[in-house]
Amino acid sequence: MKKITHLLLTFGLIIPMLFVSTSSKAQKQVDELKKEQDTLKENVTTLRDKISGVEERIATAEGDLAKLTKIKLSGYIQAQYMHYEASNAYPSNVFMLRRVRIKFQYEPINGVVFVLQPDFLPGNITLKDAYVQLNDRWLKTFSLFAGKFNRPNYEVEYSSSSREVPERSRVIRAIYPDERATGAKLEIAPPKIPLKVQLALFNGNDGLTILDAAGVNINPLNNDFDNHKDFMGRVTYTFKLGQIGALGIGAHGYYGKIKANTLDVLNSDYTYNRTNDNIGQLVKKNWVGFEAQLYFDFLGGLALKGEYIFGVNGTPGYTSKSSAVSPMTSVIKNDTLTLTTLTTITTNSRPAIEKNFQGYYIYLIKNIGKRHQIAARYDYYDPNSKVSSDQIGIAKWDAAVKTTTTDKFTYAGTDAVIATNAQTKTVVVNNLKSGTSDIKYQTITLAYTYYFDDNIKIMLGYEIPLNKKVGVNDKGVGNVTTAYAVNGEPGVYDYSNTIKQNTLTLRLQVKF
C-alpha cells in the first residue's frame, strides 16, 4: 500500500514537472514558430512590394512600348547606274540615287493616321507625302485624307518601289507631274465589296512648271496659283475569276481649270480661240481615263495592265510690260534746244493654249518562280492630237508685232529755252509656235527583276523612246530642230529623224 502511495506521489510530482517542462518547450517552439511566421510575413510583404514595383515598371514599359507600336517606319532606297544613249547627254553614264524615302506613320488612336514621307535625295530634299487620314471606325468604309498625297490614278498610286519598270509612263508623267497634289480626298471602300470610290479636290498646280516672260518657273513652291479648285474622281471594281485570277476595271476623271495668266487663248491646233477679260480667267484641264488590270495564274503570276486617257490639258501663258526712255537727238533751232526722247513700251506675251491630248500604256508582267520577273511596257503619248506630225513646227499663232510711234511736241518757241519733243513706241510680241512639246512618242520599256528576298531586288531596265518624225522643209531639214552643245561641240537634233534617246538602268533597291 505504501509502495502504491509512494508511486502515486512520485508520479504526482513527476507528471506535473514533466508537463511544466513539455509545456515550456512547446511554448518555446510556438514562440519560435511565431517568430518564423513573422519573418516569413515580412519577407512575403517585401517580396510583394518588390513584385508590385516590378509590375509597375512593366506597366510603364508596356505603356511606352504601346506608344512605340503606334509608330510605323518604312522606306526604300533606289541606287542605280544609268547609261544614256542620247547624244546631248553628258555625262552619258552616271551612278545616282533615284529615290531615298522614309515613310513615318503614326496612329495615336484607332482610325487617325498621320503620314509623312520625305525624299532625301542629296541636294534636293523634298516632301512627298504629308497628310492626315481619318478612317471611319464603325462602317470601316470611309476615309478622309487632308494634306499632300497621291492623285487618284492607277499608275500614280502604284508605288515606285513595286513598279516592274524603272519609271512611270510618259502620259502619266506629263499630266500628273510629281504624282502628289495638295488637297482633300474622300475614299469609300466597303470592306466586303471590291469597290473603291475616290473623290478629291486639289489646288491643281502641283508639280507644274509655269514660265514667265523671262523663262523662270513661277510655280516652284506649288502654292495655289488661282481660286479654282480641281476635282478628281476614280472608281474601281475587281472581279474575281475563281482560282484563275482577277480582273480589275476602273475609270477616273479630272475636272480642273488653271489661270491663263495672259489674255489670249489658243485652240489645240494653234488657231485663235478667245481673248479673256483679264489674265485671271481660266483655261481647261479636263480628261478621263479608263483602266483595266488582268491577273491570270498561268504557270505563276501573269499580269496585263493598261490605261487609256484623253482630254484637254490647258497650259498658261504669260504677259509682261516694260518701258524704257532713251534720248534720241538734240537740236538747237531758233534759240530753242529741242530734245527728242523715245519711250519704248514693250508687251511680251505668250498665249495660253488648250491642247487635246491622248495617251495609253500597256504592261505585260510575268513572274517566274519566286525570284524572277520580266516585264514589258508599251506606252504612247500624243500631247497634241489636233496637230499632225507633219504640221508640227509649222502650226503657229503670231499676233502682228505692233510698232506704233507717237510724236508729242510739248513746246516750241523763239526764246532760248529747252523744249522737249517726246516720242512713244509701243511694241507687242505675242506668238506661239508648235514644236517639241507637240511631238508624239511611243516608248518601249523592258525590264528584268531579280528578288533576293522581300527587301532587296535588282532591276535591269531598258527604255526605248521613239519620237514620231516631223515633216521636213524645202531645204530638207526637219520642221523642228533643237541645238545643243556637249563639251563645246555643237550638235542639232532634227526631229524629222528618230532621235536616239535610249536609257539603260541597273537599279538596286533596298526596302524595309
Partner: protein, 279 residues
Amino acid sequence: MKKMKLKFGIAAIVMLAILGFAFMPAQKKITVKGSDTMVILAQKWAEVYMKSHAETVVQVTGGGSGTGISALINGATDICNSSRPMKQTEMDKLKDRYASLGVEIPCAKDGITIFLHESNPVKELSLKQLSNIFSGKTRNWKEVGGPDEDIKLYGRENSSGTYVFFKDQVVKADYAANCQTLPGTAAVVNAVSKDKLGIGYGGAAYAAGVKHCAVKKDDKSPAFVANAETVKKGQYPITRYLYMYLKNRPTGEMKAYIDWILSPEGQSLVTAVGYFPVK
C-alpha cells in the same frame, strides 16, 4: 586476282550506292506557316499525310495568321494558314510582288469559343455583353450575372487572325488595355483554367479544362454553345472559315496535298481535332 576482284567489288558497291542516291526520289518539302489556331489541325494533317506519302515532308509552324501571310508574301512559306480572310492591303502586296492575287482555300470551319473558369456561374453572354467586356466597358462580373469581382481578360496577340476576327466581328472597338495578350489559344485556355475570374476566346479545338460559355446574338435570341450542329446550322453566332492561302494555283505535290486535305479523309481529321468540316 582476289585483290582485283575485291577492288572491283568495292568500286561496284560505291557506284551502286552513288547511283542509288542519284536516282532515289528526292523528298518533296512543303512548308506551312501561319495561324496558331490551325496549328494542331495542320500538324495532324501533315502527320497523317506523311505516313502514306513518305516522299513528302510537310513542315508546319505557327506564328499567327498575319505572320503567315507575311511569310507567303516574302516567299518564306508555300502555304499560309489563316483564321481570317486576307486583307485587301495584303492581297495588294501579293499582287505587286507576284502578279497574282493568291489562291484562297477554305479548309475548315471554326466556332470561336468563349472560355470561362469551370467555377464561374455565368452560363451565357450576348455579343453585346462580350463586346462590352472585351472593350473594357463592363469590368465587373456582377454586371453580367456573376460574382462581385473584377473581370480578367485574356486574348491573343495582334498578329493572330483570331485576334483580328474577334475584334472585327465581336468587340467592334479597341480591346481593353488590361486584356492580357498570350501567344496561342492553348495559352489562353491555360490562363483561364487557372483564373476563377478569367475570360478568354479562341478556337473550339483548344477548349479542354475550361467551361464553354454559350453565346447569343442579342438579349432576345437563344444562346448556343459551339458544336458541330450549331456551327453547321449557323446558330452559333461566332463562326468563321479557316483558310489556306497559296501564291498560285497548286501543282504537283502541293496540289495532291491540298486535294487530300479537302477529301473525306482530310476533312475527317478536322472533326477529330475539334473543328468543323467545310462540306
